[in-house]
């Protein structure tokens, strides 16, 4: 596992978590993981366990908040919600990703064109 790949994955997952919480409101870890799987159309094969490293990191950066609560089925679970700082960070990261993907898209299609 090289360092750059890890960083990219990490950043990606963090962004997905922030986005999920921003659109869905408070969720527990399993809920976040399921939501990401569903939205991605199961394209992201996520080991659900890895979500917890991301959650604790975001929490310590004060981008999300956590609170123990009770689920619909009356189970105790830790619920996460996005903070004001988190929304700011999300906006920044999302803008960055959009720029990056559009640039990457342009670069890739340009080189594909030359080859043909």
């Amino acid at each position: 596992m090289t360092q750059t790949k890890l960083d990219l994955l990490q950043g990606t997952l963090d962004l997905m978590v922030l986005q999920t919480l921003a659109s869905m409101g408070a969720l527990h870890g399993y809920g976040i993981a399921r939501r990401i799987e569903q939205v991605s159309g199961d394209e992201v094969l996520l080991n659900q366990g890895t979500i917890y490293a991301s959650l604790v990191r975001l929490q310590q950066r004060n981008w999300i908040a956590a609170e123990w609560g009770t689920s619909d089925n009356n189970r105790k679970a830790k619920y996460y919600s996005i903070t004001k700082d988190g929304r700011g960070q999300l906006a920044k990261d999302a803008a960055y990703w959009r720029r990056l993907t559009s640039v990457m898209g342009r670069v890739l299609s340009a080189s594909a064109g030359e080859e043909m």
Binding site: H28, N47, G49, Y52, A53, Q60, R61, K76, A77, K78
Partner: protein, 880 residues
């Protein structure tokens, strides 16, 4: 990482168990919710659980990842390593104790020496901007007498120079116990130095209490004032702050205390190593003006003026000064070459201290090699443990890290113990008042020493831990796991490495031993120096008498005193001199042949001793001609005793006894010639000396030391001599009865100090090297138990086995000695300037040290050899 996250991580790190519980609960909830959902979607209970687990991925790994992203992973690993290390060290207490003790010795010695070097060489002098202070003396000054100037010269320097912000001076010829304090119990001898009124302002020393001297206090008839040293103020007056402004009685007259000096100012430590100074009084310039060269000069350069500029100025300026303005032809006798005060104070010791520093560094190196060796021996035993850990997934880096942690822990414990040792040594040294090393009283383990400790400990840990670490972690996994550890051939490279370490250890010890041997031999040569007098069984005591300034009365008092003291049983001879050799010096213009004209610069100065009859013999000096008699007084002709050097100058190749010479423009008859006395130092050569009788008006003595030569150890006479002196003068101060040998010992004390230290380092090095040899040989015997058993079963005798082991030991030692001797030759050349009467290639020293080293090596090998020869073949062979 922002600050908030760092705090978050630290908090998580500190609350690990709590966070772990919380994570467990959260994951537990995760599974329950997931299983429930799966069941709702129609899976069986079992399948639902299976799916949930699959989707989750590795539980432990997820936990580990979460821990890593919330806490301080590096520190976690470190703590793990530390816990593991402590467990390992506890499991092998003998090894741990030996390792820590060896390290403590090595590190402690290094801290102590660093503290000494720091105090004497590295730390700036305890004055304000000390780098601008210069010592003003002729370029070739030898001893104080040759480096002092007259009051007239000092005055001219003050008015004519352009380089200095200020120039100050102190009276260079004060003797210990030169004042008598009365009114506080028995009359008490105390030591005072007279300094110019601007002394403290020039050095930048502010009194702790009160003030320093004023101008009007350094003129004739001015108010009599005194400043107390901090130590004396505490000792004598209990630190009474009310002393300022109060009078004390010195030499029977009242003197006002105007100030107390700060604790950090120790006159003796800087200017006169090995002596303590109790009080400081102002020099009255007009009083010392007629006494000639009495002032030692210290200048503070103006900002921006370099030492070279001051030297250039001095070259032009000093020849314009007068010895005395009353005698116009005394102009032109002076030269000066100012240089940094720090250089004056500690420059001579620079080389010795650096040698000492290197020696102690070598000890640390030997310690490291030794530890490396011990760790390697352990490595063999721990091979399997490491193979197992690496089979379980520990990377090579992690294993090296673990081993380095172990080294660090050992070094850390050694450093703590070593610091304790260093504290003990430095506080002992700081109180060695009689050791004539400058600034010694300020030796202490300070911040710099602590930083040094940290540096050398970490350095040592890396040095001794890295090699075994790499070796161990790099070993072949499978082989290690399979290896039964009892084979004959395995561990060959291991043993080679250890042998190489032992060889280098022996080589280092050899260098230390040869260096120490050369220094020791030099020291013995110094002790053998013919001083020109016999220090043993003689002692001196400073005497008081009141002659009212009359020579005749003084004669009567001294004659009676010497008569009474000589009558004490056990006393062989007694005599009085105002100066003693190796102490205070006074120089005058030397004797000249009568009727011959000299240029002033041609006549060397001579050391002057104003003595009574009997002194020359009481000191054990070798005399040709005759000693003074009481009849050599004002009624008779003026007489003198010269030393060989002075006699040779005046009348080379002739017998001078009975001839007349000129001293201070007066005709004086030479009645005797004595062998040269080492008046300034033990190691240098003697200058011209003249001995003049106390009984003549023209040479007034300043002070008086009664020298007693006895048939019994001098300390036994102290009581009776003091009683006799008190009978004659009830005011006689309770001064020390000092063995002359003590004066000589003090003069050679720096050399003794260095020899002692380098010698003990060499001893330590030898011990460590023998330990290393023992370790390696003993280990190889253990490993080869079976092989030896087979050999013995096949008929090898016990003696043969024993010889084999010893030969192997000596082979190792021989290689070490060869390398060591070669290195020693280089080192010996580097310390050649520290040797005295000993060539750096001195074959006797080299031979002796090689024999010592080989002998110790043989001894270290003998113990395991004996063990090898006692191996019972039956037991050895059965025992696999």
């Amino acid at each position: 990482m922002n600050l908030q996250e760092i705090f978050g991580r630290v908090r998580s790190f500190l609350h690990k168990p709590e966070r772990d519980r919380e994570l467990d609960a959260e994951m537990q909830a995760h599974f329950e919710i997931a299983i429930e959902e799966n069941v709702r979607r129609g899976m069986s209970e079992q399948e639902a659980r299976r799916q949930a687990l699959i989707r989750f991925g590795g539980v432990e790994r997820a936990k580990e990842e979460q821990r890593a992203s919330r806490g301080l992973p590096g520190l976690d690993v470190l703590l793990q390593d530390l816990r593991y290390t402590l467990r390992t060290l506890k499991r092998d207490p003998m090894f741990s104790i030996i390792a820590v003790l060896i390290l403590a010795l090595g590190i402690g010695a290094n801290i102590a020496v660093f503290s000494v070097v720091n105090a004497i060489l590295l730390r700036p002098l305890p004055f304000h901007e000390p780098e601008r202070l210069v010592w003003i003396a002729p370029a070739d000054a030898n001893g104080l007498s040759a480096s002092t100037y007259s009051a007239d010269a000092y005055d001219d320097l003050l008015t004519m120079n352009k380089s200095y912000e200020d120039v100050t001076a102190y009276f260079a010829f004060s003797t210990p116990d030169n004042f008598k304090l009365t009114g506080h119990g028995d009359p008490k001898p105390i030591t005072g130095i007279s300094v110019a009124q601007n002394f403290f302002s020039t050095l930048g020393v502010t009194p702790e209490l009160g003030r320093s001297f004023r101008k009007e206090e350094s003129v004739k008839g001015g108010p009599a004032v005194v400043m107390l040293s901090h130590a004396f103020w505490m000792r004598q007056f209990g630190g009474d702050r009310g002393m300022i402004g109060k009078p004390i009685t010195l030499d029977n007259s009242p003197v006002t205390v105007v100030g107390v000096l700060p604790d950090t100012f120790d006159f003796g430590a800087v200017f006169s190593p090995g002596t303590k100074v109790d009080i400081l009084v102002p020099v009255v310039m007009d009083e010392v003006r007629p006494w000639g060269n009495t002032l030692a000069l210290i200048g503070r350069l103006k900002p921006g003026v370099s030492v070279a500029q001051a030297q250039a100025e001095a070259k032009v300026l000093f020849p314009k000064f007068y010895w005395s303005k009353k005698v116009p032809d005394t102009v032109g006798g002076y030269t000066a070459r100012p240089y940094e005060l720090k250089q004056y104070v500690s420059g001579k010791l620079r080389r010795s201290l650096i040698v000492l520093w290197c020696a102690v560094g070598m000890i640390l190196l030997i310690v490291c090699v030794n530890l490396s060796n011990l760790l390697l021996a352990r490595a063999a035993a721990r091979n399997k443990e490491f193979a197992l850990r690496s089979a379980l997934g520990a990377g090579r880096g992690r294993l090296v890290r673990q081993l380095l942690t172990e080294s660090m822990v050992l070094a850390g414990m050694g450093a703590v113990l070593g610091l304790g040792l260093a504290f003990a040594i430095t506080s002992y040294l700081a109180h060695q008042g009689s050791l004539a090393l400058p600034l010694l009283s300020s030796v202490r383990v300070d911040g710099a020493a602590l930083a040094w400790t940290l540096g050398i400990s970490v350095g040592a840990a890396v040095l001794f831990g890295l090699l075994p670490g790499l070796k161990m972690s790099g070993s072949n996994l499978q082989e290690a796991l399979k290896d039964s550890g009892q084979g004959v051939s395995d561990g060959r490279s291991h043993e080679r490495l250890r042998s190489a370490l032992v060889i280098s250890e022996v080589a280092l010890a050899c260098v230390l031993l040869v260096g120490a041997g050369l220094l020791l031999r030099s020291f013995m040569r110094v002790l053998d120096v013919d001083l020109g007098f016999q220090p043993s069984t003689a002692a001196a005591i400073k005497i008081d008498y009141d002659d009212g300034g009359k020579t005749e009365k003084r004669d009567a008092i001294l004659q009676e005193m010497i008569r009474r003291v000589s009558a004490i049983p056990g006393v062989e001879m007694a005599g009085v001199s105002d100066n003693l050799p190796l102490e205070r010096n006074r120089g005058w213009g030397g004797p000249r042949a009568k009727g011959k004209t000299y240029k002033d610069s041609e006549v060397p100065g001579a050391f002057v001793y104003i003595v009574s009859p009997g002194y020359v013999k009481a000191m054990g000096m070798r005399l040709r001609g005759r000693d003074f008699g009481w009849a050599d007084d004002m009624k008779g002709e003026s007489t003198v005793i010269l030393n060989e050097k002075a006699a040779n100058f005046v009348a080379p190749g002739e017998d001078i006894i009975g001839k007349t010479v000129m001293i201070n423009q007066k005709e004086v008859k030479v009645i005797g010639v004595v062998a040269d006395v080492h008046e300034t130092n033990v190691e240098g050569t003697a200058g011209e000396q003249m001995y003049l009788p106390t009984m003549r008006d023209e040479w007034g003595p300043s002070g008086a030391e009664l020298v007693v030569r006895s048939k019994v150890p001098p300390e036994q006479l102290a009581g009776s001599v003091m009683r006799t002196l008190r009978e004659m003068n009830p005011n006689q101060a309770a001064v020390e009865f000092r063995p002359i040998q003590g004066i000589v010992n003090r003069a050679v004390s720096p050399r003794r100090f260095f020899v002692l230290l380098v010698g003990s380092f060499a001893g330590l090095g030898l011990f460590l090297a023998s330990l290393g040899i023992y370790g390696v040989i003993s280990y190889s015997v253990t490993r080869r138990t079976q092989e030896i058993g087979i050999r013995m079963a096949l008929g090898a005798s016990a003696g043969r086995v024993q010889a084999g082991v010893i030969v192997k030991t000596l082979q190792l030692a021989a290689m070490g000695i060869i390398v060591g001797v070669l290195a020693s030759m280089v080192v010996a050349n580097m310390i050649a300037s520290l040797l005295f009467g000993t060539a750096p290639t001195d074959p006797a020293t080299f031979l002796a040290m090689v024999v010592v080293l080989a002998g110790v090596a043989a001894l270290a090998g003998y113990i395991p050899a004996r063990r090898a020869s006692r191996i019972n073949p039956m037991v050895a062979l059965r025992n696999n």
